[in-house]
């Protein structure tokens, strides 16, 4: 078959069992003759015809009247999408969703974003031209009736073939054949469809392969879905353990090396952290030589500022029960009375009362550790603030039990 040059133009006898006529193939000796023939076929008004060549033949587009493809437009669309997508991707991630300060540089600066925007433009254009071309060409196509012809199989080697399909409205088995022959064909051949309808169908093994591979491809998704919707008593599968599992003991785990069987090694007894010695008995505990101090710690300067601080802390922490005047009727006792109960906080300023006669150190200790239903305030108030409150309570006691003699002589007139 391959060596039949210039054979007669009668068609090869149809193979037995051929179906209806699909089209006519005509072979030409040279690309130039094919172009001439294509022009004649086109001029005769045919539309459902095509030329089949081993390489793109120069001038055949014009001869066949092929319209320019819209592929460049598709590519432009792809490239434009890539550009906008590339810019938006970077803006959204680096300037909007997760801005990250690097040496005080602006989080959005176009020059640094040009390379990736450019690459995205190219990538999307490439996808558009590659896939766009195949889609416009309606490829991949598994089967075509012309493949039934041995002559057609040589198109990819050295044959220049023109094929007219029978579905063309001008198609006529005799006239079309004559047209092709007159155009200088060295051979003309009828191509028939396979009479077996199964031949048109996709081969079963391909269908089976596609179904099987699709089913297999779904397995990972099914496993992921199962893992997301079920509870497991075992840790997740770790393909790469990274540093999650290390040959070391963590706190509060068992360890045989030590007699107590613990991985923890507590501090040696008597260990004191830096700055936590608290050796000053007076300042930290209100003691002086084992008994309550009567004065104030020497590191505190007794002045107006400390008094103001004490007032401020007292009004915040103490007044709720003891009242702003220290007489024990703050908002909480008032509330108890309003709800029908009877409870007074300790009156701090009652002349001759326990608090008035209490040493400073004991008062400090009571603020620190509490007394009866009163809780300790060591957690809320630093030591210096507790001493400031002691100072303020002393001032309250004096003011609430003051006599006229306590008022400076030049101001006594204004009181009366």
């Amino acid at each position: 078959m391959a060596t039949k040059h210039h054979d007669d133009t009668t068609h090869d006898a149809p193979a037995t069992g051929d179906g209806e006529l699909y089209g006519i193939l005509a072979e030409y000796d040279t690309p130039g003759e094919l172009v001439d023939a294509a022009r004649k076929v086109r001029d005769a008004g045919y539309a459902e015809f095509d030329c089949y060549t081993p390489f793109p033949v120069h001038g055949i587009d014009e001869a066949m009247g092929i319209k320019r493809t819209i592929l460049p437009l598709i590519v432009f669309g792809g490239g434009f999408t890539g550009l906008i997508g590339g810019v938006f991707l970077q803006w959204w991630m680096n300037a909007y969703n997760w801005p990250w300060n690097i040496s005080g540089k602006p989080s959005w600066s176009i020059p640094a974003n040009v390379p990736i925007a450019f690459e995205a433009t190219i990538l999307f254009s490439v996808f558009a031209s590659f896939f766009g071309m195949w889609i416009l060409n309606k490829l991949p196509q598994v089967w075509h009736p012309f493949f039934r012809s041995d002559r057609f199989a040589r198109v990819t080697d050295d044959a220049f073939v023109l094929g007219i399909e029978s579905k063309d409205r001008r198609f006529d088995a005799v006239a079309t054949r004559k047209l092709l022959q007159d155009a200088g064909a060295i051979a003309v051949e009828d191509v028939y469809l396979d009479p077996d309808p199964k031949a048109k169908a996709m081969p079963k093994w391909i269908v089976a392969f596609v179904v099987a591979s699709t089913a297999f491809a779904l397995i990972p998704f099914a496993l992921v879905a199962k893992a997301r919707n079920s509870k497991a008593s075992q840790p997740h599968i770790h393909i790469f353990a990274d540093m999650d599992f290390q040959p070391k003991y963590k706190a509060d785990t068992a360890m045989d090396l030590f007699a107590d069987g613990r991985a923890n090694r507590g501090e040696v007894s008597g260990t004191i952290a830096r700055g936590h010695l608290k050796a000053d008995d007076t300042f930290y505990r209100g003691l002086e030589n084992g008994s309550w101090t009567l004065g104030f710690p020497k590191q505190l300067e007794i002045n107006d500022a400390l008094m103001k601080r004490g007032q401020n802390r007292f009004n915040i922490y103490c007044s709720a029960c003891h009242g702003f005047d220290g007489r024990g009727s703050g908002t909480i006792p008032q509330r108890v009375a309003a709800t029908g109960g009877a409870w007074q906080a300790r009156n701090l300023v009652e002349a001759g009362g326990a608090t008035v006669t209490m040493p400073n150190g004991q008062l400090f200790n009571t603020i620190s550790n509490g007394f009866n239903t009163m809780m300790g305030y060591a957690a809320q108030l630093p030591h210096a603030d507790r001493w400031a409150i002691v100072l303020y309570v002393r001032a309250l006691q004096r003011s609430q039990n003051a006599s006229l003699e306590d008022v400076p002589p030049d101001q006594r007139g204004s009181i009366r």
Partner: protein, 462 residues
């Protein structure tokens, strides 16, 4: 008129015979029932090298990148050298397939298929290095922007991120461009194996050729797509090596911090790529009798390109030295004096002699016509270009701003093993390509022959 043949007299069947000869001469490599002995030997050697690479990767991944010679001072060494070297080699393939296509250099059709394959394989080798240099390559996908429960995104102001996008776009484009060019030739294989009754191969090549029929309507869109892809690949190839050079140029290290890097790197890439094309094609052309397709004039043209790009690289070396002196910058001056006369002086002189002096031999036509000599010179150029990257990376890092951190770099056996492994991967893939894929773009060669115009309206026929 009765027939076209009468109007344009020519010997019937002669044009078709010429086309058939091309098909036959290219296809026999894949159709020979038993591979060539030299091919088997070469594949054996390549597989051994690949095995060494596999072992090196195993040791590296199971131990850590401490098995390499990299240190705190020289943090980038053979790994990045090899990465840049391989990427550069790949660029010649794109240049041949895209830039020479746009400039209508028809001689490219004999080598573009092999050169594009070389590009893809070289990029694969190149990608291995940064991947393994991450230390935990299984997390490499963290470099791609994807939603994650840490709420983090890649930092797009980093040149290393630009690299990820540039190189992956380049790899994708190269593969698609290559595959698109292959489809018509795979269809040729499909039809030839079907005619021979080799059903399995006919089905495999048939699936790969997507049902290509050589239809003129398809060719029309195909040629458009080819032109567009060439137009896209041309700026891409220049951008890729520019971005690779940004990895260095955007840093503040003397010897790296220069604006000359992008053009300098691109010229070097083309230079080394053509050397690699010839290193591959000269022996294969001889072994598989392709001299009448890959003609002497094609080899000569490639030699001239190497001469030109070699001199561009030489000009860049000279400019670097001049600017180091002219800038008056103490650190620049020191960096370049150290390159030429410091502890790595031998690498610098290997680079200059291989890249600047050796290509000067291509001025002589007699040398451009001697394949054996060209092959040897190309090997030297490959070595020289490897040293260029090593000199830039290692010497600059080994003498940074802080003298107390200065050190020397010595590779370990695993550095060497991985490099040998990538050479093995490259040659293995290339040899398999040569045996199973149409190694020359048959449809393009046929289209560039004078017979492609036979019987045309102007009676052009030879």
């Amino acid at each position: 008129m009765s027939t076209a043949a009468e109007e344009h007299p020519h010997e019937p069947g002669k044009a078709r015979e010429a086309f058939r000869a091309i098909t036959r001469d290219v296809s026999w490599v894949a159709e020979a029932p038993k591979p060539h002995k030299a091919w088997l030997v070469a594949l054996g050697i390549a597989l051994i090298m690949l095995g060494i690479g596999g072992l090196s990767i195993f040791v590296l991944v199971t131990t850590g990148i401490g098995v390499w010679g990299n240190s705190n001072t020289v943090g980038w060494a053979w790994d990045i050298t090899n990465f840049v070297w391989w990427i550069g080699i790949g660029h010649a393939g794109t240049l041949i397939s895209a830039v020479l296509f746009l400039t209508r250099q028809s001689w490219r059709v004999s080598i573009n298929r092999a050169a594009e394959a070389m590009t893809i394989f070289a990029v694969m080798c190149a990608l291995l290095f940064p991947l393994l240099h991450t230390g935990r390559p299984w997390f490499a996908w963290w470099m791609l922007p994807h939603p994650n429960d840490m709420g983090m995104w890649p930092q797009f102001r980093s040149p290393l991120m630009w690299d990820v996008f540039a190189v992956s776009t380049y790899a994708t484009t190269s593969i698609l461009f290559w595959y698109m060019g292959l489809v018509p030739d795979l269809a040729t294989f499909r039809d030839r194996f079907a005619a021979k009754g080799d059903k399995l191969k006919a089905i495999i090549y048939g699936v790969l050729s997507l049902g290509w029929r050589g239809s003129a309507r398809n060719w029309h869109r195909y040629e458009r797509a080819y032109l567009i892809l060439a137009g896209l690949a041309t700026p891409l190839v220049f951008s890729v090596h520019s971005v690779v050079s940004f990895d260095f140029a955007t840093s503040q290290l003397p010897g790296w911090h220069t604006t000359i890097f992008p053009p300098y790197f691109v010229a070097g890439a083309i230079f080394s790529g053509f050397a690699m094309v010839l290193t591959l094609m000269l022996p294969l052309r001889h072994l598989f009798n392709l001299q009448h397709i890959i003609k002497e004039s094609h080899v000569e043209a490639m030699c001239k390109i190497m001469l030109a790009t070699g001199m561009m690289v030489g000009l860049a070396y000279g400019t670097e030295l001049f600017i180091a002196w002219y800038s008056g910058n103490l650190y620049e001056k020191f960096a370049f004096a150290n390159r030429a006369f410091g502890p790595f002086w031998w690498a610098y002189f290997a680079m200059v002699s291989c890249n600047v002096l050796i290509p000067q031999a291509f001025w002589f036509k007699k040398i451009r016509q001697r394949p054996v000599i060209i092959f040897i010179l190309c090997i030297f150029i490959n070595i020289g270009m490897w040293f260029e990257r090593f000199v830039i990376i290692a010497t600059s890092l080994a003498r940074s701003f802080l003298p107390s951190a200065w050190s020397y770099y010595t590779p370990t056996r695993w550095d060497v093993g991985l490099f040998v492994g990538t050479l093995g991967l490259f040659f293995t893939l290339f040899l398999l390509f040569f045996r199973y894929v149409p190694v020359i773009a048959m449809s393009e060669v046929k289209g560039a022959m004078p017979e492609a115009h036979a019987g045309g309206p102007k009676g052009e026929h030879k």
